[in-house]
Symmetry: C2
Subunit: 148 residues, 2 copies
């Protein structure tokens, strides 16, 4: 089992970051504009890619205001299904720090390298959203390679 | 043992990326302006941080033009010493793809989360350098948190 790890700090409150991680408007402001509630604690994220529409359905397993958001991937690319995504939040002086972990990958396939870099860019988009009011969600996300 | 993985693709040739990874000028153009040759196949990278000067000495273990650059960390933060950094290059149509791995971390400490996100930003700086001629090396690098 291998994990993707990241850490960012936004000059904001953990309450603001928590809101960006737990509301449809918030999530649509940094990850993908095509974010919808799918019922039964599932949030649906969709991306228009050159090869067609793609995306993930996340089941919200845990939320603790200002502290934790924990999802399980219930639909998406085969490598993602059954993996977990955790955002742990903590206030450190003027920074809301996000410790990020996408855990439970079966093996370190090249797609995992891609997703690791892409997560970094989206976490920077989250930082920008809470700091400035404007993130870079798909389809306005930073392109990192031929895999977008 | 846990690894940091990333993947970027630059609209350029693997020869250009290889040059940016194996010359002092190239490395100073995307990672840190304070890059110097330290003899015996060691390259010295230094960063001015709020808490003082910090950095890494890398021993170049392998270089294969247009294909591979492989370093061992011989000086730096305790968590880095003895870890290895690998850049594997491949041309995919108009993209020079970099498969990146910083491997051999003893444990997934919070500093590893930080370094993972920071590597992503520096690899995007490498992409920008070979695509546009101008990267974002330290001290002009993107700040990601209270840890810089």
């Amino acid at each position: 089992m291998v994990d993707i790890l990241h850490r960012i700090g936004a000059e904001s409150s953990t309450a603001d970051v928590y809101r960006a991680l737990t509301t449809i408007d918030g999530l649509a402001g940094w990850w993908t504009e095509n974010t919808t509630a799918a019922g039964d604690d599932v949030i649906r994220f969709r991306f228009a890619l050159p090869q067609g529409e793609d995306g993930f359905d996340m089941k919200v397993l845990e939320t603790e205001p200002g502290t934790l958001v924990h999802w399980e991937v219930v639909q998406g690319p085969e490598e993602w299904i059954g993996t977990h995504v955790r955002f742990e939040l903590a206030q450190e002086d003027e920074y809301a720090v996000v410790m990020f972990r996408h855990e439970g990958w079966k093996e370190a396939v090249p797609f995992m390298n891609h997703c690791s870099t892409k997560w970094a860019m989206f976490l920077m988009s989250l930082k920008r959203l809470v700091e400035t009011g404007k993130g870079e969600p798909a389809p306005h996300d930073v392109q990192i390679s031929n895999w977008h």
